[in-house]
Structures are given as structure tokens and as C-alpha cells.
């Protein structure tokens, strides 16, 4: 029974989990493994799954956790998400136009390319917040940093995207 139920959930959610992993890890191949692994872990602890909770939330938290672990393993030099004070200092003061002014929804490809170009430090919180719809609190917990740090990283991420798109779209539209 457990198998059959899990099989259905797997079929329904695999693509989403895979998408999440690919965004976090920035690699289709790694994402495939990570998604498999996430489901493996979910399968093992399926007994503990609280059916009140949406399955997506549960599996997504497992996938996030695993992906962030992988990223931490890759990045052996120091803290993956940098230092809060240092990040704060690096915030750009200039008021760049926001993304929604730069491109339209039809040009989503530009934004996605830019997101993929972000380093893990900025990409992960961005994906968690806007793709995964996590609250700052949850992200802070997941990444083991302060809530303010999350805010700074997200702002930095958006600033980078804006800067990237200003030059990108500028070139493309020439």
C-alpha cells in the first residue's frame, strides 16, 4: 500500500522537485540525482509524514535540505552564504530600475539566464523565496543564517539581476 501511494506522489511531484533541484544546483545532471535522493529519503521516512501537511511542502523541504548540503560540500572554503556585515556593505546604492520595468513576462528567458548566472550564495535564497515561496524565517532556518542576512542576500540577488539585465537587454535590443 505504502508503495502504491508513494508511487503516485512520486509521479505527480517528480517534475516539480526536479525543477527545484535544478534551480538550486544549477545543473540538470546533479538535479536528477538530487531529486532521486530526495524521494529516496522521503520514502524512507514516509511513515513519519504528517498527512495534514501538503506533500509539496514536505518533499520540497527534503529536497532543499539535500541540495544545500550538496552545495556546502562543493564549497569547502568558508561559509556558503558569506558574512552579513560584509554583504551589507556591498549593497549597491544606485536606484536601478526594477526587473519588471526591464523585461516583460514574455522575456522570461532573460531572467532565467540571469538567475542561472548568479552564484549559489544569491541563487539559493532567491529560489527558496520566490520559486519555493518560503518565508524569510524558513529560509533563515534552512540556511542557518539570520533573517536580516536573508533580506540582504535577496536584495543583493535582485540588484545583480537588475544590473545583469540592464546590460543584457541593452545589448539584445540594440
Amino acid at each position: 500500500m505504502r508503495n502504491a501511494a508513494f508511487e503516485i506522489l512520486y509521479k505527480d511531484y517528480y517534475v516539480r522537485v526536479f525543477g527545484l533541484c535544478r534551480r538550486l544546483l544549477n545543473s540538470s545532471e546533479m538535479a536528477e540525482d538530487a531529486a532521486q535522493e530526495a524521494f529516496m529519503r522521503a520514502y524512507r521516512s514516509f511513515g513519519k509524514y504528517d498527512t495534514e501537511q501538503p506533500f509539496w511542502q514536505w518533499i520540497a523541504s527534503i529536497a532543499n535540505h539535500h541540495c544545500i548540503d550538496l552545495l556546502r560540500q562543493q564549497n569547502r572554503t568558508g561559509a556558503l552564504f558569506g558574512d552579513e556585515a560584509a554583504e551589507l556593505e556591498q549593497l549597491a546604492d544606485v536606484d536601478a530600475p526594477v526587473l519588471s520595468k526591464l523585461i516583460s513576462v514574455q522575456e522570461a528567458g532573460f531572467l532565467n539566464k540571469a538567475v542561472a548566472n548568479l552564484s549559489a550564495k544569491y541563487r539559493v535564497p532567491l529560489v527558496l523565496a520566490y520559486f519555493n515561496q518560503f518565508s524569510y524565517e524558513e529560509i533563515a532556518q534552512e540556511l542557518k543564517i539570520s533573517r536580516n542576512h536573508v533580506g540582504i542576500l535577496l536584495l543583493r540577488a535582485k540588484q545583480r539581476l537588475r544590473a545583469d539585465l540592464v546590460s543584457d537587454t541593452g545589448e539584445a535590443r540594440k
Partner: protein, 548 residues
């Protein structure tokens, strides 16, 4: 308050500011149109990112194929894999031993009783073929099976330990390379095959196990390992330090054999030979001259056996005529029509003569028998009298119950799907029984047909082993189901299994109907096993893979 910072606006747009700070920012926004405009933009942007990321996800993941989910195997899978590996290794070893040892000897023993004129020519021809083609075939097969099972287990193990694909690939490459340099299991084996004559000259020493197939084989030198020969005429005057296995038309041994000597031929002669281990011979005529000695037991099966030499322990002779004039360390047991004890024969133990008439024994006056001379009827399987009256019977049944219980617990743990099996309603039961009956009948027939091709010999051995295992497990499965029917569902597995097995055991031991019940329960159980396997392995041929 001065203007809100970018950070404040960004966090406020995501509703992430601490409550106290949020109030301050909200108040400021009401009074500051420029901040408010920026805030609206940022909020807009957040929504924009959200929806854009989702769109991309849908577009790109459209091409993602969902790989098949394989449930993690865990300890159970690992145990199963090891069990399978062990089983196959055991089977191949068993096969090797059986093929070249017991089966051929036993078959010749059996055949001598029927007496087919050309059996030795036939069997040596078969053996020549087997040795020429079979060894290579068998080695390749053995290597392949062991290697692939080992690979499977390794993969399983790696999967279990959550290694990523990259690590797994590396491990695989390392493993394959290792397997390539790893010595083949039978490398200390030398094979010589000639059409006419193979001679190991007196000056020659062979360090390995030697396999020879030829028309005429002359061994004058020293073989350090085992010697296996098949041919028309075999003469061994040298030394074999290991075991000697011979199949030929005529075999003459006048040298030394360190281990066991096993052979079948129409004439098998020991002339001044020494056998360090047991002697197993089947043939038309067997002769052991007065200069020869066998250190351990000798078993001979033939039309006529003429034993003049010495045997260190027991002598078993199955023959039409046995002539004994040598010396014997222990008992002589003869199954024969006629037995002649001649000359200065000496038996240190008893003589047991199984025969139809006591007139068959001729005993010269000079013969010494230290023990008794007994006449027995040809062996009869069962003694009369009620088996229920003996305590041994109950002990044996108790041992069977415990054995079945332990096996059943292990089996149901390994294959948990079987726990939820049920016999089903009337028509289903009939269907199950029919499947069981077909399996009971068809597997041995199929195995024999496959075995005839020689190439299929290993498969048929496996099929038979699986079939036997299936017969044993069948009653355990039935017991488990019966236990579940009688006790409530929630009862623990050991209790239901034990109760079920107890009932099955009592049923099959009932007088008169026990045999029929036994058959019926076995058939139903086997049918259930097969159905279960068909269910789990869709579209797979099931008979040869009963349990694995």
C-alpha cells in the same frame, strides 16, 4: 523619519520586516510618495520574479522524463542480493562437484545394474565432449555469473549508501578493472587434448590440476594436483598427489594416488597401486591385485569384483559376483548374488552379506573373519510397526516444525509481499491449485529436456534447485495463510505462522489422508508462490526463478 532603505523596502515587500520596524516603514510610506512609488515597484518586481520563475519551470520541465522510482533496498534488499549471490555460487560449486563427481559415478553404478553394452564407450564419448567444450563453457559461465552477481551486489550496496551517480560510475570502473586483472577461478588447470596419445613422461612433473582427454593416456610422471582423464585406454604408472578421476574403457593403475580415486570403466585394474584416500569405482570388471592397497574405504560396483589387495577400512561391494582374498581393516558389506572369500582373506571387522539366498556365499577354510558373518535381506526402506508409537518420530516432527518456522520467518521477512497473500474464494483456489500442479509436473520435465542439451545443464540444475526449494516453501506459505485465517489480522507474524505451520504439520501426518493433504497443500502453496511471482515479475518467465 528619513527615507526607507532599499533593504527595508525589499523586506517589507516580502512581508519580512519585524513587526515594530514594519509599522515605522508603513507610516513613512504614507507620507513619502517617492518611497511609496519605489515600494510599489519592488513589490511588483517580487511578484514578477515569482511568476517568471514558475513559467520557466513549466516550460523546461516539460521535456523531463520521470525516471522509474526504485524503492531503496535497505537491509532486506542487501540480504536478498547476498542470498542470491550465495545461492548461485553454491549452485555452481555443487554443479561442478556433482557433474564430475557423484552424478556420473552414481549413474554408472545404476547403469551397471541394468547393463548396457556400450555404456562406457558412450560415457567416455560424452565426457570427451564435455571436457572439450564443457570446461570452457563452464568457466565462462561461472565467471560471468559470479561477476555479474558481484556487480549487482556492489551496485546495490552503493545505492544503499546514497552515493551519487558519479561515485557509482567510478566504483564501477574500478570494479570492472579489478575483475579483469583478478585471476580466473580455475587458472591452476591445465587441459591437454589430443586425438591419439597423451603421455606424461616419467621425467615430467605437472604442478597444476591436469585435465586430459584423448584416445590413449599414459601417465608415467608426477601430477601434483588432481588428475582428471577421459579416454579409451588409461594407464597410470606414475604418481598423482591429488585426486584421480578417470573415465575410460580400460583403466590400469600401477602407480600412487595421494587422494581419492574415482572412476568408471569397463575394466578397472589396480596392479601394485596405492590409493591414499577412498576408492570409488564402477565398471564391468574390477580387479585389485595383491600388491595394491587402498588406505581408506573402497566402494566398488560392477558385474564382477576381484579384490586381492588390502583395504584400510570398509569395503562395499555391489556386484553380481564378489571374490575377496585380500585383507580388510574393517567391515565388508556386499550386495551380491555370489560372494567368494578365498585364500588367506582376512576381515578384521564383520562381514555383512546382503543377498537373496545364503547359498551364494562360498568361504574357504583358511579365511579369517574376526567379527561376525551376517546374512541380511536386501535393504528394505521401512520397518513395520506404527511410526506414531516412537518418540523419535515426535522429536523429528518437532525439529521439522522449528525448522519450518525459522525458515518461514526469514522468508516472510525477505519477501514481505507474501504476508498479505490469501487463498481466495473457491474458483481462485482451484486456479491456484492448477498452477501449482502444472509447476510441480512441468519444471522437472522442462529441466530434463534442457539438461539433454548439455549447454542447458546449469540452468536445469538451478531450475531443479529452485523447484525443490519451492516445494519446501510451499507448505510454509500455506501455513502462514492458514494462521492468518484462523487468528485475527492484528496478531503478530510469529504467532500466526507458528499456529499455521502446526496445523499443516499435523494435517500432513494424519494417518491415511496425510499423504493426500500433503500433496494438496504443497500444490496450493506452490501455486500461490508462482502467482505471487507472476504478480511481481510481470511478463517474466517464472518457472526457473521460483524464489530469487
Amino acid at each position: 523619519m528619513k527615507h526607507a532603505t532599499q533593504l527595508q523596502l525589499s523586506m517589507h515587500a516580502d512581508v519580512a520586516l519585524p513587526a515594530s520596524e514594519a509599522v515605522v516603514v508603513s507610516e513613512h510610506l504614507e507620507t513619502c510618495p517617492s518611497c511609496l512609488a519605489r515600494f510599489a515597484e519592488i513589490k511588483d518586481e517580487a511578484g514578477f520574479i515569482r511568476s517568471t520563475l514558475q513559467i520557466e519551470a513549466r516550460e523546461n520541465t516539460g521535456e523531463v522524463t520521470v525516471p522509474k522510482f526504485s524503492a531503496p533496498s535497505g537491509l532486506r534488499g542487501f540480504a536478498l542480493a547476498n542470498l542470491a549471490t550465495g545461492l548461485v555460487i553454491w549452485l555452481t560449486q555443487f554443479l561442478w562437484k556433482t557433474l564430475f563427481g557423484e552424478v556420473i559415478v552414481n549413474a554408472s553404478t545404476w547403469v551397471t545394474s541394468i547393463y548396457l553394452p556400450d555404456i562406457y564407450a558412450m560415457s567416455s564419448a560424452t565426457l570427451l565432449y564435455l571436457l572439450k567444450e564443457g570446461t570452457v563453457m563452464f568457466n565462462a559461465y561461472l565467471g560471468f555469473v559470479v561477476l555479474s552477481l558481484f556487480t549487482a551486489t556492489t551496485l546495490w550496496y552503493l545505492l544503499m549508501h546514497r552515493k551519487t551517480r558519479v561515485t557509482m560510475n567510478i566504483c564501477l570502473v574500478v570494479f570492472v578493472m579489478g575483475a579483469m586483472v583478478f585471476p580466473a577461478p580455475v587458472n591452476a588447470l591445465e587441459v591437454r587434448m589430443e586425438e591419439d596419445v597423451v603421455t606424461i613422461a616419467a621425467s615430467e612433473t605437472v604442478d597444476d590440476t591436469l585435465l586430459i582427454a584423448a584416445e590413449t593416456i599414459l601417465i608415467e610422471g608426477v601430477i601434483k594436483g588432481d588428475l582428471m582423464v577421459a579416454g579409451r585406454r588409461v594407464v597410470i604408472s606414475g604418481t598423482v598427489e591429488g585426486n584421480l578421476i578417470t573415465f575410460a574403457d580400460t583403466i590400469t593403475i600401477s602407480g600412487k594416488v595421494g587422494g581419492m580415486a574415482l572412476g568408471a570403466s569397463s575394466t578397472y585394474d589396480l596392479r601394485g597401486a596405492t590409493v591414499g584416500g577412498d576408492l570409488w569405482v564402477a565398471g564391468e570388471q574390477i580387479g585389485i591385485d595383491s600388491e595394491s592397497s587402498v588406505v581408506r574405504n573402497a566402494s566398488v560396483a560392477s558385474r564382477s569384483a576381484n579384490i586381492d589387495g588390502s583395504v584400510g577400512k570398509d569395503l562395499y561391494a555391489f556386484a553380481e559376483t564378489v571374490e575377496f582374498s585380500g585383507s580388510l581393516g574393517e567391515d565388508l558389506e556386499a550386495f551380491a548374488n555370489r560372494m567368494r572369500l578365498l585364500g588367506d582373506a582376512h576381515v578384521a571387522g564383520n562381514v555383512r552379506f546382503r543377498t537373496d539366498s545364503e547359498d551364494g556365499l562360498h568361504r574357504a577354510d583358511s579365511v579369517r573373519v574376526d567379527g561376525e558373518v551376517e546374512f541380511l535381506d536386501m535393504p528394505q526402506e521401512l520397518e513395520e510397526g506404527s511410526k506414531y508409537a516412537k518418540i523419535k518420530y515426535y522429536l523429528w516432527q518437532a525439529a521439522r516444525l522449528i525448522g519450518a518456522f525459522l525458515v518461514g520467518m526469514a522468508f516472510l521477512w525477505l519477501v514481505p509481499g507474501l504476508r498479505s497473500m490469501s487463498i481466495g474464494a473457491d474458483v481462485d483456489t482451484l486456479k491456484t491449485a492448477a498452477i501449482g500442479l502444472v509447476t510441480v509436473v512441468s519444471v522437472p520435465i522442462a529441466a530434463v529436456l534442457v539438461a539433454v542439451t548439455l549447454v542447458g545443464l546449469p540452468i536445469s540444475f538451478m531450475a531443479i534447485a529452485a523447484w525443490l526449494l519451492g516445494l519446501y516453501l510451499a507448505k510454509i506459505v500455506v501455513g502462514a495463510v492458514i494462521g492468518q485465517l484462523l487468528l485475527s489480522e492484528s496478531d503478530s507474524l510469529p504467532r500466526t505462522l507458528f499456529v499455521g505451520l502446526l496445523i499443516v504439520l499435523i494435517a500432513v501426518n494424519l494417518p491415511f489422508i496425510g499423504g493426500i493433504l500433503n500433496l494438496v497443500l504443497t500444490i496450493v502453496g506452490l501455486g500461490m508462490l508462482v502467482q505471487f511471482l507472476i504478480g511481481t515479475l510481470p511478463g517474466r518467465e517464472h518457472r526457473d526463478y521460483e524464489e530469487i
